[in-house]
């Protein structure tokens, strides 16, 4: 590096002589900071999404690199949010990458004081058995006057306002076909 280059790389010199008298832009840049690029540029892919918190429906752009979410930003194209996100929407990268996230099935045996591990397929099989048994034990064909009931009050479900329409559709369809009428969500609460 020549003396001149060295001198010109000195931020104070650039601040005094350049276009950035306040030293908050170009003058303050180092070689390292000049080479930095936003994570959004280095991403392998970007998905157009929607904030999962409240019902305003702010647009999100979800950036992924090496199989991890590296950034979630407001979508400037959205006529609803025009690129903005509130504290919750802005924290949603933190939500999906939180170290508190539980990614393993947990199982609590009756009368147990701790969780155990359980294989997902086994869990699904056990749950299916329990649904079938609860249904069989509580099935009601008709009421006192012989009118059809076709139902079970043996199990119930709660939730849906944080889910997708397609998910709610399948839940209601499956519950109805099983005769399970007790299904509710946040809208009642």
């Amino acid at each position: 590096m020549g003396v001149r280059t060295w001198f010109e790389s000195w931020p104070v010199y650039r601040q005094l002589t350049g276009t950035d008298p306040l030293g908050r832009g170009a003058a303050a840049m180092s070689r390292r900071s000049a080479e930095l690029a936003p994570r959004t540029e280095a991403a392998d892919s970007m998905a157009r999404s929607v904030c999962p918190y409240c019902a305003v429906g702010c647009g999100q752009r979800v950036y992924v690199k090496d199989g991890r979410v590296t950034q979630i930003e407001g979508d400037p194209d959205s006529p609803i949010s025009r690129g903005r996100l509130c504290p919750k929407g802005a924290a949603s990268k933190n939500l999906v990458t939180s170290r508190f996230r539980q990614t393993k099935v947990r199982y609590r045996r009756p009368y147990a004081t701790e969780w155990e591990d359980l294989d997902l397929d086994t869990a699904m099989d056990m749950i299916a058995d329990r649904v079938i048994a609860a249904r069989a034990a509580t099935w009601e064909d008709v009421d006192d006057e012989g009118r059809p009931l076709n139902r079970t009050l043996g199990f119930s479900g709660l939730g849906g306002a944080t889910l997708d329409n397609e998910e709610n559709y399948l839940i209601k369809k499956l519950f109805t076909a099983l005769g399970a009428i007790q299904i509710e969500n946040q809208a009642r609460i």
Partner: protein, 868 residues
């Protein structure tokens, strides 16, 4: 709005910059108040008194938008001469039956009308929250009505309304709500001056409004004002609900609710709908105007979507498979049934009732008495861990080694790890692309329920039991993809949209659904979201590249309309009310409706069209009937059917109140639903004695930085850091009265529970002079529980379950309480502490407030009921 829907609030701010005035009415001064033009404090639970005062101001000064009101509302319609108002009956309407606690609405009808047969069975209607189905359409009313266009007939709706609200004077508003006269006048003047041909005013509420024993009537009161001022169906107007979860609108449209099927079709009730034709007839209201007339097509197409090839016209599309309701199967009833050991299994999908539901203790005790519980969530929320770290474990009411509930925690995929649509608060469907696969065992709910159904079907295959036919014949063959066999959300959305069975082509609009089994349609109001084989909800044409309505961003139901009933944005002749407020209009040259939005009207029906005398359904809608889903085509200032607690809103005190109803002898909603259970005690309320044991009012709401029961925020570092601890707010006056110190500990007590937190002494809360006393209100956020980064007591442990009769939603936003300095007692001492309060209040065992409190209750019942 600034607190809970911050990015939506940017539009309110944009309007303010352009000169709009913003009024914020709230028990507590919030960040919204700080940015509003005027903040109006209010006593929690008195919104009908306040808005009723506005209606009185409009009517007594004749400030309504007369041309709109005459043409588009039922103001001129004549009501039965048997109708008696709350004016005459001390707070009750005619038809009240004290034995069943519901009304017979026969006297509320329009002159010469009979109520729909089913509507007579108001006991079942209340138990099944049947008015909820009116979210998409009005209840049954014939369109042939007697009218007085001069609005002078003493029994026309306009005059009835005027008399009903005459006693809601500014003095009463001041007395009931604690709103100073000048502020009230300012609201009235601004609202009326800013409405009319050239201007419109929007009414925005957050859904805390629904959490009252008169919640549906709150919204009715707002709707009456907006109709009187001509603010419905017009740009800048409306009654806008800010809903609290990403897709809570979607989960009501495609309901995970006990009493509804997709598109607000009712679940069959055993007593009312034993056959397919009973069910369909109850929905399509023969002899009415409107699109509800096509209900047979919506019903048949739904059953085709459910049972595919098995569903044929000959077997009534497998209607026989449908399970039937017999009464209240809502969540509160379920919780008590769990406590009583009647329910064996429970699925929780992204919901945390241990923290988020009213009366947390009852919720947790219920879960502790199940055989099995499946929790699907991102985090180990409190509803998955109550068996090891809840208040009841502390008090010994739940002993882990004695609790038999088997708990499965199945991790869920996040919103970026699956694709699908949310329906946001503006009825807008937006498709989310998937960014990456979920980690570990985490799966979408689409995966979970699809595979659960698949496994159950496999296990039952070959069964000859009649009860298994419905599940074995179910159309359940969705294509799957990827390493985990993820079902295709796209295929499900196509089914929701509907298609022609023969060609497989998706339908464009619900008008194409058929009642003969030739179409499949999973949710008729969503028909069109997959029009022309294109996922319309995935459209993302940038906002800057289209008009301000932005019709090509996502898709709104029905038929991509952004403002409902927008025919009302034009005058009866089809011309915009003013240039400034032009939205849709009749283009005489082209012979069709045109505008910035999709007209909410038959495209080529001219304003001059009049139906013949025998017309029904869509044909009966006149060219100047904007309310195309209502039986008479008009906006309802007076609801002759559809609401169980009266044709007009009436101020009732909350079931737990400190003061006597200043307007009528009838204290609280006489049709409210109560559960008389030891876990669900209601405090004494006037005219009962011992009101002073719980001498303050509490109200509960959210913070910007947290989300509902905290399941998506207390586990997120940034948000937990922004709001690290449970606290509650009191006024300096109350702090002085109770010896509370800013930032020290304090606790709030009710008969249901006790909650501790840091005390925030702030003038954001104002003591309100009400009647002959001062009412102090305490405000608590409800996001906390024992798990996550940021922990604390759950404010919803304080509340009880007394429900609105129309929709079975609880009075969650106001109750009475005591407040004390210091931390709450722990363990067994906590139980003793609560019992001590209850003993002093005389409610140790079980208590709900008296239903009828008029002196003349029995007498008025006799007077109001016509001879039969």
């Amino acid at each position: 709005m600034a607190e809970c829907h911050p990015v939506g609030f940017q539009w309110a701010m944009a309007a303010k910059e352009r000169g709009a005035k913003i009024f914020h009415v709230d028990p507590r001064f919030t960040r919204t108040s700080a940015l509003a033009s005027t903040y109006v404090p209010i006593r929690a639970g008195t919104d009908i008194a306040f808005l009723g005062g506005v209606i009185n101001y409009i009517l007594s000064n004749e400030l309504d938008f007369r041309e709109y009101v005459l043409a588009y509302t039922n103001a001129a319609t004549i009501v039965s001469e048997d109708f008696r108002d709350t004016e005459d009956l001390d707070g009750l309407f005619s038809g009240y039956d004290p034995d069943t606690g519901v009304y017979d609405p026969v006297t509320w009808q329009y002159q010469g009308h009979e109520p729909q047969a089913a509507a007579r069975d108001t006991v079942i209607e209340r138990e099944t929250a049947s008015p909820l189905q009116h979210e998409s359409h009005g209840p049954g009313v014939s369109w042939r009505v007697d009218r007085d266009e001069t609005l002078r007939h003493p029994r026309c709706v306009y005059q009835i309304l005027k008399r009903h609200f005459a006693r809601y004077t500014p003095e009463v508003v001041e007395q009931a709500c604690g709103i100073p006269r000048e502020k009230f006048d300012e609201v009235c003047r601004a609202w009326t001056e800013n409405s009319g041909r050239d201007r419109t005013t929007a009414l925005v509420y957050s859904v805390g409004w629904t959490q009252h024993s008169v919640g549906a009537q709150y919204i009715r009161t707002g709707a009456i004002i907006q109709l009187l001022l001509g603010n419905i169906g017009r740009p800048g107007g409306g009654v806008l609900a800010l809903r609290g979860h990403a897709s809570i609108q979607g989960s009501t449209d495609i309901p995970t609710l006990f009493n509804l099927l997709p598109g607000y079709l009712p679940m069959p009730v055993a007593q009312l709908h034993p056959t397919y034709s009973d069910w369909v007839t109850s929905i399509c209201h023969p002899k009415q105007k409107g699109f509800w007339h096509h209900a047979p097509a919506y019903c048949a197409s739904l059953l085709k979507a459910y049972w595919g090839e098995a569903a044929t016209p000959d077997n009534d599309f497998c209607y026989g498979y449908m399970p039937r309701l017999t009464g209240d199967h809502g969540i509160y009833k379920q919780v008590f049934d769990m406590i009583d050991g009647k329910i064996k299994g429970y699925f929780l999908m992204g919901q945390n009732p241990a923290v988020g539901s009213m009366n947390g203790r009852a919720q947790r005790l219920g879960m502790a008495n199940l055989d099995w519980l499946v929790v699907r969530d991102l985090f180990e929320i409190e509803s998955a861990t109550w068996w090891k770290n809840s208040v009841e474990v502390e008090t010994g009411e739940i002993v882990p080694t004695e609790c038999r509930t088997e708990v499965f925690f199945i991790p869920a995929a996040s919103h970026v790890e699956k694709e699908g649509t949310f329906t946001q608060t503006q009825r807008l469907l937006q498709w989310r692309e998937k960014a990456l696969d979920p980690p570990g065992d985490a799966r979408s709910d689409l995966w979970f329920f699809y595979h659960l159904g698949r496994i159950v079907r496999q296990k039952l295959a070959g069964s000859t039991l009649p009860r298994d036919r419905a599940i074995l014949d179910l159309a359940w063959d969705y294509p799957t993809h990827g390493p985990h066999d993820e079902p295709s959300a796209d295929a499900v959305l196509r089914e929701i949209n509907g298609y022609d069975v023969k060609t497989g082509l998706t339908l464009r609009t619900f008008g194409q659904l058929r009642d003969d089994g030739s179409t499949v349609g999973g949710c008729w109001i969503y028909c069109g979201v997959y029009a022309d084989g294109v996922n319309q909800a995935a459209r993302r044409r940038p906002g800057g590249e289209q008009n301000y309505v932005a019709p090509e961003w996502g898709w709104a139901w029905p038929d991509n309309r952004r403002i409902l009933y927008n025919r009302a944005s034009a005058d009866p002749q089809g011309r915009p009310w003013s240039e400034r407020k032009a939205y849709v209009w009749w283009d005489g040259k082209k012979g069709c409706w045109d505008g910035y939005d999709q007209p909410d009207f038959e495209k080529t029906k001219p304003p001059s069209y009049r139906p013949g005398p025998d017309a029904e359904g869509v044909e009966a809608i006149a060219g100047d009937d904007p309310f195309i889903m209502l039986g008479d085509g008009k906006g309802w200032l007076y609801a002759s059917s559809g609401l169980l607690d009266g044709p007009m809103p009436t101020h009732y005190e909350p079931p737990e109140s400190l003061v006597r109803n200043p307007l009528y002898g009838q204290q609280a909603n006489p049709v409210r639903k109560v559960y008389d259970r030891p876990e669900n005690i209601t405090h004494p309320s006037p005219p009962e004695p011992h009101v002073g044991v719980y001498p303050y009012v509490f109200t509960i709401a959210r913070l910007t930085e947290h989300h509902t029961a905290g399941g998506m925020s207390r586990y997120v570092e940034h948000l937990a850091e922004l709001q690290p601890e449970m606290f509650f707010e009191v006024s300096p006056e109350l702090a002085a009265e109770r010896g509370l110190t800013h930032l020290d500990w304090g606790h709030v007590v009710t008969a249901r529970g006790v909650v501790e937190g840091r005390v925030l002494v702030t003038d954001r809360l104002t003591p309100l002079p009400v009647a002959d006393r001062v009412v102090h209100q305490i405000w608590l956020p409800y996001h906390w529980g024992p798990n996550g980064w940021s922990r604390g007591d759950s404010a919803n442990d304080l509340g009880g379950m007394v429900l609105d009769p129309n929709v079975l939603i609880q009075e969650g936003k106001c109750g009475t309480c005591d407040v004390r300095p210091g931390r709450r007692p722990q363990g067994r001492e906590l139980v003793t502490y609560l019992n001590d309060y209850r003993r002093r209040a005389g409610i140790l065992e079980s208590h709900h407030t008296p239903i009828i409190t008029t002196d003349t209750a029995a007498e008025s019942y006799r007077q109001g009921r016509p001879d039969k």
